[in-house]
Symmetry: C2
Subunit: 308 residues, 2 copies
């Protein structure tokens, strides 16, 4: 079975949407990536850090999905990363109300010995130096390194970000960030410029407007599944990335054709994530639900035109 | 050959985008719909009105595409509808600077005798009473009636709009208008409500984010082709509608499966329209270019997932 190493936050989230408000619930990029990847036949491990306020029940949720948590450091007397946000009525934008980095501020990831030979490495959104440190700990070059980042790092750690993205294969960012990184409004031009910065594959996430995969002259697009109701978008991007990475790890095939399918699988899983608060939907997701919705994706996008 | 009756404005447009500025050039919904439909093997006619300031050379552009202009009234001493607009930097929004209805204000369409038995009627964006008047002139119920409308009519002629959309099969509107018509943010819910108002098929145009086709429980989505540069979005929605209507008229097949292809053809043609100012690209568009880009659409969206 292919090995997938996931590096990303494990966190407490507190979320308000037009549909309601949560207390502190399980969140974090590493968590969402792990839950999505666990839908595939992979050996997955998360490298992260939490405080000793992080409940064992949350650890068990991930362990029950067969995710190796050896690499999750528990800091005694430390507090877990906490994020609080409130979504606007259209759910397309949000205000961050609280960000307490806590133990994440001094996070120094340690890759477990049995994952230094991982086939695929998924670097969740973190300081580029932390992402680089993980790459340096790998005993051999992984088959595929995927990196997610965000506007904050583009703004504040440009040089470090440029250094790490030279070492990776796939970058996932959203449309606004792609434009911010390149000064290009056209996503086609932006993706071309980002490929010049290092990553051979560029995945641009457009939220409810789907996702684009770019590689040289090739472009692939997957829509987000049109839903009656989006309940809570938190974690959708990480779930997408986790599905993408999980599929490629399971198949071991990193061709462009295979990445197309990975994009569809990621979009498919993200469509579940947004149906409940936090991780609720992903924790209880069944294979038959996943398969059935994949058929919806096929019906949504596949056509048959014969040229005359 | 199938007959397609097009009702829509023929106009002078003056357009400013970040890339430049035009004087008065050929525009109008009927014009763009006609140019797109002329890419298909159809007998097409436009019903419209212009002033005698409308140059013969513009008429000839449409005539050279084998479009019947018998139904275009030329008002002596009248002035042609004029629209002037300026696009913002992202090309997704625009300000209307001038709207002079001129002869369009008193437009009373007369369907030419040889088109009262048209197979498909495409009612471009006009006062709902004008659209209704065309339906009443048909000697038999067309196989398919498609109607386009906009926020202005939703705001100011609600009852008339509700009356005419009960008579039609397919409505094409943009996402903001679908939300405005229904009070639903979710496009899935909005499309369901619009179907209850009459049209069995709802096409929601999302500009650079593609288009959705809804019919009962079925949804189909086509992206807009990602382009290096969008030069001028004017007419893209009408070009989309013209491609949609033209394909269905040529094939004579109005099943949901056929409409999927029609959506792809419409999106394909719209991707050309935006590459130049006004009608320039559509007037000179060649079949091999259209076919080649259809293949790009296929590569962009088609995947092959086998369920295990």
């Amino acid at each position: 079975m292919g090995k997938l190493l996931i590096v990303g936050s494990m966190a407490f989230d507190a979320i308000e949407t037009p549909f309601g408000k949560t207390g502190k619930i399980l969140g974090g990029a590493g968590t969402f990536i792990g839950l999505a990847a666990s839908q595939f036949k992979v050996d997955a491990a998360i490298v992260s850090v939490v405080g000793d306020d992080f409940p064992q029940s949350y650890m068990d949720i991930l362990k029950n999905k067969n995710i190796d948590l050896t690499g999750v450091e528990v800091v005694k007397g430390g507090k877990t990363f906490f994020w609080e946000g409130k979504y606007h009525n259209d759910l397309n934008s949000r205000d961050t109300l609280v960000t307490e980095l806590n133990t994440l501020a001094d996070f120094s990831p340690i890759v477990p010995d049995n994952f230094t030979d991982a086939d695929v490495v998924m670097l969740g959104n973190l300081h580029p130096n932390i992402q680089m440190s993980v790459i340096h700990q790998m005993e051999k070059r992984p088959k595929l390194i995927i990196l997610d980042t965000m506007n904050f790092w583009i703004d504040s750690t440009w040089d470090e970000l440029m250094a790490v993205i030279k070492k990776i294969d796939v970058i996932t960012i959203n449309d606004a960030e792609a434009r911010q990184m390149t000064g290009e409004y056209s996503l086609v031009k932006a993706a071309a410029k980002i490929q010049e910065m290092g990553p051979k594959y560029v995945v641009i996430k457009k939220g409810e407007h789907g996702a684009l995969l770019f590689h040289k002259e090739n472009i692939f697009f997957a829509p987000a599944l049109p839903l009656e109701e989006v309940f809570d978008p938190t974690g959708a991007g990480d779930t997408f990335a986790g599905g993408f990475a999980g599929y490629l790890t399971e198949t071991g095939n990193i061709s462009f054709e295979s990445m197309k399918n990975a994009i569809i699988h990621g979009s498919n899983l993200a469509s579940f994530c947004v149906e409940r608060f936090g991780t609720d939907r992903m924790v209880n997701l069944q294979k038959h639900e996943v398969d059935s919705r994949l058929m919806q994706f096929r019906d949504l996008t596949q056509f048959n035109i014969e040229l005359t």
